[in-house]
């Protein structure tokens, strides 16, 4: 599979999940996504757990509001029907399954490229060089923030201001951590952009690094996966 195929497949699945209005269509999209995950020949439990972890807070909140407090589905409210908690539960389930599919589709796409580095993946995308550079810079910023979090935690824990394990002290001083993280991000960014990048012309080197990928734009496997999505869409259309 190529990065382009993975992006197209993931976007198609996300579009399918967004457009699906009933449980059957959602079930078809979910099944295709699970097959796609299994097709990576890697363990998908971590990706499933991660996706469920993202959905659970939303499910809890929506369940409390729509099932517990409102007790009716939005469509029933719009039609001035009496409604039921079962309909509200079905509404919440559809929303949550949709989000789960979106999260898992992204995870499953990355499972197909588990042995790849981010630079290789971005280099394999059929996108203009400036877009690829922006993607690399975005990833770089994310890494910088993570590095800053690590540094700021080290500083504040060593100073006794917060603790490594969860504590009330951490809740009270969380804002200091946030401030320290941003100060650190700025310091790291200045350290790079003031001396290293200008003198090396480091950003220009990305052109070469991102252009080295000779992978085809789409492969046979990509076409197979995309055909599966199209078949799923046709089945869903026929069942309506």
């Amino acid at each position: 599979m190529t990065p382009n195929g993975a992006v197209i497949f993931a976007l198609a699945v996300i579009a399918g999940a967004a457009l699906a209005r009933d449980a059957i269509t959602l079930g078809i999209v979910l099944t295709i996504t699970l097959i796609f995950g299994l097709g990576s020949r890697r363990r998908i439990w971590g990706a499933l757990a991660w996706s469920a972890g993202i959905v659970l807070p939303l499910a809890a909140f929506m369940g409390a509001v729509w099932i517990g407090i409102v007790g009716r589905a939005p469509a029933e409210i719009a039609a001035s029907l009496e409604g039921s908690r079962a309909a509200a539960a079905a509404y919440v389930a559809v929303i949550c399954v949709r989000l789960f599919i979106v999260a898992f589709a992204i995870q499953a796409a990355f499972l197909h490229f588990a042995g790849w580095t981010p630079l290789r993946f971005v280099g394999g995308l059929a996108a203009p060089p400036v877009v690829k550079k922006l993607l690399v810079l975005t990833l770089s910023l994310i890494e910088t923030i993570l590095q800053a979090v690590d540094r700021a935690r080290t500083a504040l824990i060593a100073a006794g201001i917060i603790t490594r394990n969860p504590s009330w002290r951490n809740l009270r001083h969380g804002w200091i951590l946030v401030q320290t993280v941003w100060l650190t991000v700025v310091t790291i960014a200045i350290g790079r952009t003031r001396d290293k990048w200008p003198v090396e012309d480091t950003l220009a080197r990305l052109d070469g690094a991102l252009a080295t990928s000779m992978a085809p734009r789409l492969g046979a496997a990509d076409c197979g996966w995309i055909a599966l999505v199209v078949a799923g869409a046709a089945i869903a259309w026929g069942l309506r």
Partner: protein, 385 residues
Amino acid sequence: MAEFIAGPNFSGRSAALMAWLRAGAPAFFVGPYAEAALSGLASTVADEIAIYRSGEPVRPAFAPLDFASCAARKPPTLSGGEQVLLALHCFSLSDYAAIGIDTALEQLDPQNRVDALGYLSQGAAQGFTAALIDNRLACPAGWSPRQLTGSAVDFACDLAAIDPPPCKAPVIGVRQMSFRYPGGRDIFRDTDFRLEPGQAYRLTGPNGAGKTTLFKLLAGVLSPASGGITLDGTAYAPWRSGNRIFALATQNPDQQWCGATLAEDLARRRAALAREPDIGLPSVETLAALAACLGVRSIDQHLYELPLVARKRLSWLWPLAGAMPWTMFDEPTLGQDQATRAALAEVIGRLTRNGYGVVFVTHDDEFASLIAHRPIRLADATVRL
């Protein structure tokens, strides 16, 4: 010809190096810490190498480490020395014709340092030029010296005036401690050792052996997978209760600021330590006077606007303040000139004579020889006293 830029701190060496690099730009730069040594554009070691690798090799590769084995690691998770070695490796694979190094080689262990200097010294034969700043070297053979003499007095320090109050530090016991980073090898495996107060201990081991990791475990920044720490025989878990024993001066000073200005940093640290009844908290005036001795005259100084050398000196403030009974210095002499290194060694000696415990990491044998100390060797996931 390779150029060796010599002179005391604040004599303009870094500016001279940058001018040399700009004149020959594009040129490769290895600064003292990760943000000026690595590109910051790579999420993995493999990508860092890919960014700099040229199409055709133009010179032999400098490969002191097995980078293939850590290809998937994030560059910031490498130790300071490993980051410098990675930067040199990237340069050796690139097509840059010039490299400038600002004190970064001071982080390397002796063998890697010799290897790196040897590689750079062959630049003329390999088609590249080099410029180097290094406080621990006289001009290497075959290099052209460039001596700078002027020195700004704005950040002059007076370490002789520092004399921490007497202290009775507890005995540190480490029992059956094991630790590894997620997905990594064992850094410590069922390790036992004991640290006595009134002593200085020097942690030794190759780059990446776990010296900084041990500091982080003792300060509660990391928690061991098993085993624990005792103070005078009583269990102590800083990762749970907070650090109240170890004042840490980190290798990169920017890893220890708790505020934007020195005043903010002092206020936050004092508020945290005020919770601990055993700690004799120094007054703001005392700390301000100590900061002045370290070269920073105003506590309203913005920390990140200070020169790196001044920030490094200021990072010694809390270890020298006497608030905490144990002090840890991680590569304290990085970027410091001969006179400052000697003065710091003298202050560390004073700390131990006054009853504090000191643990330090340095690859600077000359500096270590100025301090009466016991070596602690880190190797094979154990600590050997």
